[in-house]
Amino acid sequence: MLWSIPAIALLGAPLLFWFGRRWQRIWLATFTGGICIVMFMLAWYGLQAGWQGTYSWNQTLTLQLDLTPLTALFVLTIAATAAPVVIFTAYHETRHGLPRLHSLLLFFTGAMTMLVLAADLLSLLIAWELVGACSWALISHQWRDKHKVQQAGWAFLVTRLGDLGLFVAVFSALAATGSLSYGALSELGGGLLHLFAAGLVLAAATKSAQVPFSPWLFCAMAGPVPVSALLHAATMVAAGTFILIRLYDILAPVPWFEPVVLGLGLCTALAAGLVACAQGHAKKLLAASTSAHYGFMWVAIGGGYPAVATLHFVVHAALKAALFLVTGVVAKSAGSYRLEKMGKAEQRSLLAVISLVSVLALAGLFPLGAAWTKEKIVTVAGHVTPLVALSTMLAGALCAIYAARFHLHLFGTLGRPLKGRGPAYRASVAEFAPLCFLALCTVLLSLLWLPSAGQTLEEWLKAPLPPFKAWELILSTILVVAGGLLGCRLTGRQSTVDPALGRFFAGWWSLPVLGHLLVVKPVRISSQLLSRAEQQFAALGMGAVGAISHHLARLDQRAVDKATMLSARLTRYLAKLNARAGEWLFNGIPTGMAALCDKCATRVQSLQTGLSHQYYTLAVVGVISFILVLITGEMF
């Protein structure tokens, strides 16, 4: 039964693709939004009913799904984020290709749900790859722009590089335990456990855009706004973090696992924070902030409290989806995603309020839910060492800086309306409703601050949450406020930082350039070299064969030539010979014979002497010679 949750989306998508070509916007919104809502309800119901799902290929390869409180929370979040996003999409995007976009979004959501529900590594791998492929198709939605398709390709390849880690992890689990089920993973040990953990961390780091793989999120910005919203908030990027949370119990015994995850998360949170502070492109600013926030989640996992990461994922989903959609509306008015061009483009106060709520949550300001989870993360970091806690607080301050920048550029009084701009884009009610829903979720999540909420969640997720420490809470809040104020000041100035440094940060610390230099170029060059070498080798081989045959031909020619010449000469010689000796010979034989006969006849004549004793002597000699011939004939 549990298969029904991903299946309705995975099967609904191709149906929509084939039959939905002429559908009106409202039908698209109803169909896809409806499926997301059904998924939400099925997950809710399935959790109460204890649903399970199994599908066997053979004895070894069995696909299993499982619904635990953790996976249910993820599925609910995904469905609750996807529904407003797809409804927004139906009314926001251009009509051309809209059904395709919708069916891909639906498929994307279905694949992500399967990823979350998977209870074995094969299902996980299948869903993991499907999510990646969908992201390619979604990012290259506007395929007439070659640049966007290229960006989609890069995004896909970087994440697929990480997928190889997952492949290795899956294979090492299978080799060690003979099974792919999560349940059998506890048998893993020794070198293969290390390999399993390493592969999984690599895969998770690429998907969740951690250092050094973060820049692929910038490539992903080539896609339409709702794609970014879904990709960052609830699906693709969440996959990496999710799997570390899901398999935390298996991975935690690996001694290096927690320090590495913590280190990567902290580095990403700080580095991506600086990137977002320097970025001048609204979507890329948000993309960097996504990396940073997933970095926070990694800090929580590395600190030993995966439940904190789960909750941060939920609050982040609501606020990030809303912020992307707001950006989309404003950018449609401004005609650009450059922050300096977006000011005063959209002046409706409702939009500004939605943005403000989400931005305050992004910054992590009390009393919003995002602040609660972020402070919990600071506490977790404090459990490791105070230095880590301080670094996390600093990263939080960076969040406040870019959050302030973002909001002030879009809605602040600082931006000047640009002259010569056409009438502002009037977002419809159908676009506002999903936005309001997401903002409302963000506000409602403030309930996390209630003391009883934490206890309930601890019991439900069966995982501990750390208690706050006063000094960390106060210091962190001060830093957030200070960051926000600094952000406001920075936004007013034209250039407060060195532009070269700004470009360095904004370009993700030159990581894309490095990746290009260290990975892409060598592969490209070696492939070209190999291909050229092969051609030359083949040419050489052909050349050798050609040369040999050529030589043979020449030899042949010469030999034949010579032979012909020789035979010609021979004939000529023979002809000459004939002309002289032949003629002499053939003439001589008959005349010679005649002469011989003549001589013999005269000699025979001389025998006729008439003397009888001579006759007798001759007769005796003849008889003796006859007898001698007979005897010798016997002998031989």
Binding site: S56, W57, N58, T60, L61, L122, L125, I126, A127, E129, L130, A133, W136, S140, W143, R144, D145, K146, V149, Q150, G153, F156, L157, R160, L161, L164, F167, V168, V170, F171, S172, L174, A175, G178, V523, R524, S526, S527, Q528, L530, S531, R532, E534, F537, A538, G541
Partner: protein
């Protein structure tokens, strides 16, 4: 009996077409397709009736032929042979139906296609080594004429190169076969007896030499780097459907032969050299992928991915034949994966080559850089190619993934390092296919292709059937796995 009929029907039809018939040109295509579908139907019946708990070879049919030599008309199939044969007959039926320019010589073209179907099925279904060899070589003849007479570019040259190169391989194979034949008492070409007796086990140098002969012959056919140079040229210059058969059917004869002869009949020697074969396969995987990435010719690029994919298959076979007693599960996985890869590669690369045939029919242009933005003019073509390309680099839900997952999962338990390095092939193929799709279909449309037409009805039909099979195998591989696994279990379990 059912297998003999499925072999004889296309053969007799080909003979019929050899006579000057003077039918209207368009009749030949329908006739050939109809005939080619008969073996498909019969093989599906054989597939359904395959007893997964029965003996290794089923549907056996034997007629004495040259008893003094130990040769007979012996046909029969295990799950592996049946899977590959069924895929091949469907692919060739598709090739017969796929519209192509026959330059006014339709009768001869379809006669060769039907002949090719008969002798290809003969290779997969023969249970007699000599019969196997005869069919193996007759393929070359049919392919030579198809490339040389209906190809384009330097077709003669390509056909001759293909013929001579693979004939060299065949001769090596023949020596190996004779070596096997001479080592068994009483002399026989019966595969079942040879598999049972393992005649050359423990004979050292002689076994190695025979093994070398067999493997050289089969590797050239497969082909693995560095004995692959006949392949790209033959692909580029042959018509689309013939390319599809070349990639989908002929290449499988190499890997199928590896499973059938060296793997089954000389298990001990195979164990000895399994690592070397695996390394060779790994080289092919990476080399094929890297060289394909640098190609600007559409067909050449796909041709090189064949080398990469056949590398996966051989890697699986090598892992299945490695000396490892404690992990029969992994070996079964690897060999099953290799078989599924043969079927999947046939369907996927076959589809890709059919599509290149459609490109050639429309534009006479293979240069990738000349294209762009075709998704606007030919959405169905674009969709088919995107699906086939994604299947080719192993996207889950499609047949290639089922194959590659099993191959790598099995190989990893036996040669972890080789499998890990080989995984890079998956990444590079993804890169090269994405780049190819981007160059063909996305971006802006060049002026010269504004008249480009989408796939016609017949083309759509063939591709729909093939790609549907790819999707079904990807989602529900059980249709394929039952008989294959039954045979694989028997083969791997052999001492």
């Amino acid at each position: 009996m059912i297998l003999t009929i499925s072999l004889l029907v296309p053969l007799l039809a080909a003979l019929l077409l050899a006579f000057p018939l003077h039918w209207p040109q368009r009749y030949y295509r329908g006739f050939a397709t109809g005939i080619a579908l008969v073996p498909c139907l019969l093989l599906v019946i054989a597939w359904v009736n395959f007893d997964t708990r029965g003996s290794l070879f089923q549907h056996v049919h034997e007629v004495p032929w040259v008893p003094s030599l130990g040769m007979a008309w012996r046909v029969g199939a295990d799950g592996i042979a049946l899977a590959v044969a069924t895929m091949s007959s469907f692919l060739i039926a598709g090739a017969a139906f796929y519209p192509v320019d026959t330059y006014g010589r339709a009768r001869q073209y379809y006669a060769w296609i039907l002949f090719l179907q008969a002798v290809s099925l003969g290779v997969f279904l023969a249970l007699d080594l000599l019969l196997f060899y005869v069919f193996f070589d007759l393929n070359l003849v049919a392919m030579y004429f198809l490339i040389a007479r209906w190809g384009h570019g330097k077709a003669r040259f390509a056909a001759t190169k293909f013929f001579l190169f693979t004939l060299c391989g065949s001769l090596a194979l023949l020596l190996g076969i004779l070596g096997l034949y001479l080592s068994v008492e009483p002399r026989t070409f019966d595969m079942r007896i040879l598999i049972e007796q393992q005649p050359l086990a423990g004979t050292g140098l002689l076994a190695s030499l025979v093994f070398l002969g067999l493997m050289v012959g089969l590797i050239i056919k497969t082909p693995l780097a560095p004995l692959h140079t006949w392949l790209p040229q033959a692909h580029v210059d042959s018509p689309g459907p013939v390319s599809a058969i070349l990639a989908g059917v002929l290449l499988k004869m190499g890997t199928y032969g590896m499973i059938r002869i060296p793997y089954s009949m000389m298990r001990q020697t195979f164990e000895q050299y399994a690592l070397a074969i695996a390394v060779l396969a790994l080289v092919s995987i990476l080399y094929g992928a890297l060289v394909a990435l640098a190609q600007h010719n559409l067909k050449r690029r796909i041709a090189y991915t064949s080398i990469n994919h056949m590398g996966y298959t051989v890697l699986g076979i090598a892992a299945a034949g490695a000396l490892m007693s404690d992990s029969p599960m992994a070996q079964r996985l690897a060999l099953t994966g290799a078989t599924v890869e043969m079927v999947a590669h046939g369907l996927i690369t076959g589809s890709l080559f059919f599509i290149t045939g459609s490109f050639w029919q429309r534009t006479r242009e293979y240069d990738l850089d000349a294209y762009g933005g075709l998704a606007a003019k030919a959405p169905v073509l674009a969709f088919a190619m995107v699906l086939a390309a994604f299947a080719s680099f192993g996207l889950p839900g499609l047949a290639g993934f089922v194959a590659e997952f099993q191959i790598f999962a099995g190989t990893f338990a036996i040669y972890p390092w080789l499998a890990s390095i080989g995984l890079l092939g998956i990444l590079i193929t993804a890169a090269l296919f994405l780049q190819m799709l981007q160059k063909l279909f996305f971006g802006s449309l060049p002026q010269r292709w504004t008249e480009f037409t989408d796939l016609g009805r017949d083309e759509r039909l063939v591709l729909a059937v093939l790609l549907l099979a790819v999707v079904v195998i990807g989602i529900y591989p059980n249709v394929l796995l039952g008989p294959i696994e039954a045979s694989v279990t028997l083969l791997v379990g052999r001492p």
